[in-house]
Symmetry: C3
Subunit: 360 residues, 3 copies
């Protein structure tokens, strides 16, 4: 589970039905993974994601081991990702990994005999957040088709927004309203992808004007550091902050979502409004992770790619060459291939198979 | 469970009976909380308290997740206590919290749909230590009524001593002997509270003179830093240190207690004496925490106060005002209201409802 | 379980049979330690060992609590090892400890009413690594007797090598080939011990010449810092690095072992070779730890030595004396007796009973 696109629509539906069944019959699952273990490898801190996976595994009766800060572990002493992953794969039934480098989870999956769940690889993917969003939308609205969804905040850099948009492209007749300041507008390529998938896209710079039509308002964090000029930030930020006053223009059955943690973009007074479902969304995120762990831990073991694909991961590697001899390198310096040089080459159809950066 | 006073005497007795039953039939409880989870939020380190809660939950078959040092977690990135608590409440059946600010556990309880157990909020309360003390005394003596208890060490600043005294006021005919150097004597208000509750209080500056009459000698840590003059500390400390020599003046059926960790106030030679029960006291502390977790995790969920009490926690908040506009502030700068300014006002009957500081 | 020598050959065989049974019937063990707890006290970081114990306990249905970095815990505030151990012994069914001082695990065992498992005490012992090695050899070859085992790398300082050699002395007709640069040769006393036990020892400076005869090649890490002259390291290191080229001279049924983590002494290209079993060895290490935990957690509680052996641990202690008055001190400054001065004297038959250093 490296990216949401790894799931077919049929697999997603199967997962969602499991999620509903857990919500309705929680008592049936408290022994489901008894005696099984989840390895939790957090190469950078992430309280929310880590705690939701730990709670999910424990609610299924399983155990969790791992590290939440690699500085305290010998991993910091320079062991390769490969060796750590192969060790852990021998101890666990599934592995969840957060890593600062893009492509780290895919790299890990090459060496693992058990499923790897990506809990965030740099700025690249965070598929269980997308699962959370879709599960919450489906649960609250009975489905995704035909909804009008407002996306508000940082649409330029926000990983959550890009993943959600990609996932929404699978569903029919979704209408999207983009609410952002110009500095943080959705990139042109993402807009084209929506067009190609038949998603109607509207743009609206002011949340107050946009809010009246929406079924869902999906808010995201705006980071001050994104602005070259702090004064510009101060001037614009009020257009993308949700207050009780702005909320008064919304429909009674609208729902407010947010991936959390928030900064100041949702006024705390809004929390008591019945339309605020972001805390419930987080709780449902734990439940969809329970469903995912259940499927993952029950898969039979497989031969890892590094043994299976002798040709690909062996002969065509950069390992053993000096950098100048390397036949191909990913231009993204945060790509895991730069930190772990023994990895098989990033070759793909013009994009790095680890981090999806263009290779030309 | 913010303060020991949250328990009625009847609830205490119920809890104690559960504690005895766990001691007598431990095998009956190993599945009691299977599939349930405890969130363990330690905003400052505390090995003993944390480990005793973790062990207690696991011995009931449940799981524990959380953090033991917030620096390694994104909590350090500035998320509010409110948002962290609401997240965690969605993942867990109960929550245990240690925090450096007074009133933090009460503040957390306003946002939680599940029980919050205070594992220490600054210098304010540490109710599970008091539960430990009472459970150990009751177990060892069959009851609390009528015992003569010596309290020795730092009676001025020691949170444990103050909580224990308050709890002892519930029982009949307890006699207390205070053993301390003048610098660390019990505050006058605490003495008056004992008088009002009918507790006989005697004072005795030298442990050697006091020890012969006691049923229980409750020792506490004396911190060198409490003394302005180090020479004064050196001159006085021997009067409050328990050695085998001093112990030879005690009755054979006296028992020595200590909340631990100790500094040097109990000579290690004493540990082998059958009257030393402080290690057994710590073990019983884990068992009373098992009893507490059992009751807490079985409670049904409730609507958190921040949603339920719209008036109180909404309109009367300091949130949205600049500091100069704030209508009321707690004078205690370690009170949680200073760190989390959105909290409902500290108004109460003249004392802060978070940290019990006088508001005038 | 402080040192491998604590096990009789009969106990080892019993443990090995349990290990085989767990491998063959894993489903029978998922509830074996339900409601029991393992205290995991890591006074220095060690990811591999810690994670293998945590996974082992959880796969038996038990829970794990403790700390992985004492800086974050109040242990760092200066509590004695004694007090920490007695506390933890009251909360747990067994205890696993890693400590930077030699003899720490033995010291801990004096105060514990439950079994203490040594997970590494300084440069002294690491018995569960030796258990791992023997279990893996026995599993892969059906027994240890008569095997020709090549030991390669740092034979001078490597704790793993010394422990393994000592353990091999129990078996019949083992033949050992030592492969190392002169700077890292096996100490003379260790060679004499092999001779005394009837182990045939050959020496061979070059791995290429040695490899053809071996049943097992046991590689270990060579640390650059061991060499006074870095140029010397560069000149010699290639003789003890395993590459596919050198491996081509080995028998098809040879097996390559390594305690891990590795530095550069095994080329990653070797990992795909079916003779590479070091990752499988690590996995079997978790399984032998499951067998060990099962035996340990099922033992009845006992009276700790500090209470039982009044004479030994009481009267003859250094405690209460100034250093100049101490009757006997271990000359090894990394011995636990220097950090915890209240410990009973190190007296033994001329060697320190904590760290085995010579006392004269």
């Amino acid at each position: 589970m490296i990216d949401f696109s790894d799931l077919t629509q049929r697999e997603w539906q199967h997962l969602y039905h499991r999620f509903e069944d857990i919500l309705e019959h929680p008592g049936d699952y408290r022994d489901a993974l008894r005696g099984q273990t989840l390895a939790s490898l957090f190469y950078e801190p992430s309280t929310r994601t880590r705690l939701s996976f730990e709670a999910a595994m424990q609610r299924l009766g399983g155990g969790v081991f791992g590290f939440s800060d690699p500085m305290a572990s010998s991993v910091a002493k320079g062991e390769t990702l490969k060796d750590t992953v192969i060790m852990v794969t021998g101890y666990s039934d599934a592995m969840v990994m957060r890593h600062p480098c893009e492509g780290a989870a895919l790299a890990a999956s090459l060496f693992s005999a058990r499923p790897v769940i990506n809990a965030g690889d740099g700025c690249h993917c965070h598929p269980t957040q997308t699962l959370t969003d879709l599960a919450a939308i489906t649960r609250l609205f009975g489905g995704v088709d035909g909804l009008r969804i407002g996306l508000c905040g940082d649409l330029k850099y926000g990983r959550t927004i890009h993943s959600l948009l990609t996932a929404l492209c699978r569903f029919g007749g979704v209408k999207v309203t983009l609410v952002s300041v110009p500095e943080l507008a959705l990139p042109a390529y993402a807009k084209r992808a929506c067009d190609a998938a038949g998603i109607q896209v509207a743009e609206e710079p002011d949340l107050r004007s946009a809010i009246g039509d929406l079924d869902i308002l999906y808010m995201t964090r705006v980071q001050r550091e994104r602005f070259a000029d702090p004064a510009e930030y101060e001037r614009l930020k009020d257009r993308v902050i949700l207050t009780p006053d702005i909320l008064s223009g919304a429909r009674k059955d609208m729902r407010i979502m947010h991936p959390l943690p928030r900064a100041g973009e949702i006024d705390m007074e809004v929390d008591r409004d019945p339309r605020a479902v972001y805390f419930e969304q987080a709780r449902l995120g734990m439940v969809i992770r329970m469903a995912l762990l259940l499927e993952m831990c029950r898969l039979p073991s497989f031969t890892p790619a590094y043994i299976r694909d002798d040709t690909e991961s062996g002969r065509h590697t950069n390992s053993g060459r000096t950098p100048s001899q390397a036949v191909l390198r990913c231009p993204n310096l945060s790509c895991i291939t730069h930190k772990e040089p023994y990895l098989p080459l990033p070759a793909g159809d013009g994009v790095c198979r680890y981090c999806d950066s263009s290779l030309t």
